[in-house]
Amino acid sequence: MSEIRNHHILSVLVQNRPGVLARVASLFARRGFNIFSLAVAPAEDEGFSRITIVVDVDSAPLEQVVKQLFKLIEVVKISELDPRRSVERELLLATVRTTAEQRGQVVELTNIFEGKILAVGAEAITVSLDGHPDKLDDFEELLAGYGIVELQRTGRVALPKLDREARLRAVSNKKTDNGKAG
């Protein structure tokens, strides 16, 4: 599912105000940029949210994406996260069709992946797994063999790795950069 070689992960800090997400989404649509996934949640500072966007850079040069995004008044900071230097996580929920005989196999598979069993029914089982998106891809593929009834993934969230300094390459930061908005 996630062939992310031509993807970039942008971590966008925005003011948490009504309509911010709509602005980001309509900007991508209007400029013809493709989004692979997008996750939003409140950030550590009160009043701010962090949006993690995985962008398809075949649709437009990353530089234009970043610059156009940065023109939105509520966008405060944009960081590009290098996948090799960041921690990425995603959550997957799946309901899988299982006969009584197969149930044990799905439970075992889930345990191998260190996932969780959330609910067990007569003919189906709901499991969850969080981890690196690649790991979720593998798990999803294996589950598919049993018959997936419903599946939901959250889209990735990411933060820079801590182990070496300067993991976070600030693409642009209006707080410190002497600004760049137009």
């Binding site: 309509g19 234009q64 610059k67 008044i73 209006k174 707080k175 002497n178 137009g182």
Partner: protein
Amino acid sequence: MKITGAQALIRSLEMENVETIFGLPGGCILPAYDPLLDSPIRHILVRHEQGAGHMAEGYAHVTGRPGVVLVTSGPAATNMVTPLMDAFMDSIPMVCITGQVGTAAIGTDAFQECDTVGITRSCTKHNELVMSAQDIPMAIRQAFHIATTGRPGPTLVDIPKDCLTNMMDWHWPTDEEVAESLPGYRPTTKGHARMIKEAAKLILASERPLLYIGGGVLKARAAEAVRELAELTNIHVVTTLMARGAFPDDHALCLGMPGMHGNATAITAMQQSDLLINIGARFDDRITGKLSEFAKEAKVIHVDIDPAEQGKVRKPDVPIVGDAKYVTEELIKAIRDLLQTGSTQADTGAWKSRVSGWREQFPLSYAPSEPGEALKPQFCLEALRDSAPEGTILVSGVGQHQMWSSQYWTFNEPYTWVNSGGLGTMGFSVPAAIGAKVGRPDRTVWAIDGDGCFQMTAQELVTASVERIPIKVAILNNSYLGMVRQWQEMFYEERYSEVYLSPEVPNFVMWAEAMGCVGIRVDSPEEVQPAIDKANSINDRPVVIDFRVDAREKVFPMVPAGYGNDDMLLPEWQEPNRGGLK
């Protein structure tokens, strides 16, 4: 002190030094119209909200101050979409205030409810739905701040009716509070010193330099600085459609307008230059023609306050993000420093003489009409130009008449040319001229309009008559959607489809008079001058001249869509010499 949200709104506008509002009331905005009665702010009651929007633009164009619009919810807000987009494309500072249904009714499809912030999101620099009376002063301050700083543009504040009627504690936000409320908005105005130095070196080293200046020069009030730079370095200047007047047409270094209907010299100078010094322009497709054929040998210095313009179309060798005036002045200093420390400017003599050769061989020209033949639109423009009082402001619609206006007028002063460049909005000129005249009542304002354009917004002449705003309108009436006709003639084998406008209906003279204007009709060349003299002598009401011009006249030169600039079409009598454009 407790006041209503409506009172807070009007007081906020006064605090922003607003002198004039263009608008039209209705249900949701009603509460704001009551305190307006007690305010020194002049309100101009328009006949259609689109007119209010273009008036605000015209006002902003000539004064540099933001134009302000006040309208109600629903259909009034949607009527504002065109002028908002027009202002967005041409970076015009404008603040639009719309009424909205009460906060409790939002989302219920209430009468005259529409998702104004949703609809205008992509045609404003920023917009905001206010949800409490208390927030009105801050929303207004932010709207003015954002509209007028950085790359200017339109902003919109949508105010629900109950926010106008509720009480609030008056507080006018301080600069610090505004800055704190917008942590993500810090426009860069100071260009990077190292880049400026780099640019200075490139300029001195170039043998075929050209200044390519755009509307940003006017927005930044950088015309003086640009002139100094041009004279210091003795470099020719091309002025885009948005920058006409930013550098005087009668200056020896001025080559005029490049682009699709630019003149051959300006177009060719761009194509053959080895260094384009772009100040406040954006490599619009109307300038570049086919991008892969555009100015292939040129290096590029690009000065723009909007970082997203850098590299959007053409990758610059030296990008400079900053205010055009600041950067140009720094550039002048940097060049002076280099010259004083022993650097010399490359010899541009050969280039200069090539440019002069093109100018001599390929002037703008048209075939004057033979006696008894139909009137030529260019002839009318020349007569209007030659009779125009000093400092006349020219406003145009969109079409052939717009291109002829830009070509045949002589713009010697900044802020004397108002037009719809980026969006190309038919119907722009009459209301924009009214706004310009409100902004500069001391100036003569001529609107050059097409017969098609005029029919889109002419009703605002009623506004002009009633409000005593004596603009002058010259309709270059060719009975056609002329620009479209030209394309059909040239690229669709003269298959004219839906471009013919009835020549006798409407009767423009009667229509003008019905709207309280003086109407004059001109059919022949002898009538041109007396009509213009009469129009120029009337200053107590608007005047409309219906010039009946030759429908067959086309705009040349022309770089057809998809062509490279080198393949521009010249007037037929210049075609045999096109080899000279080398």
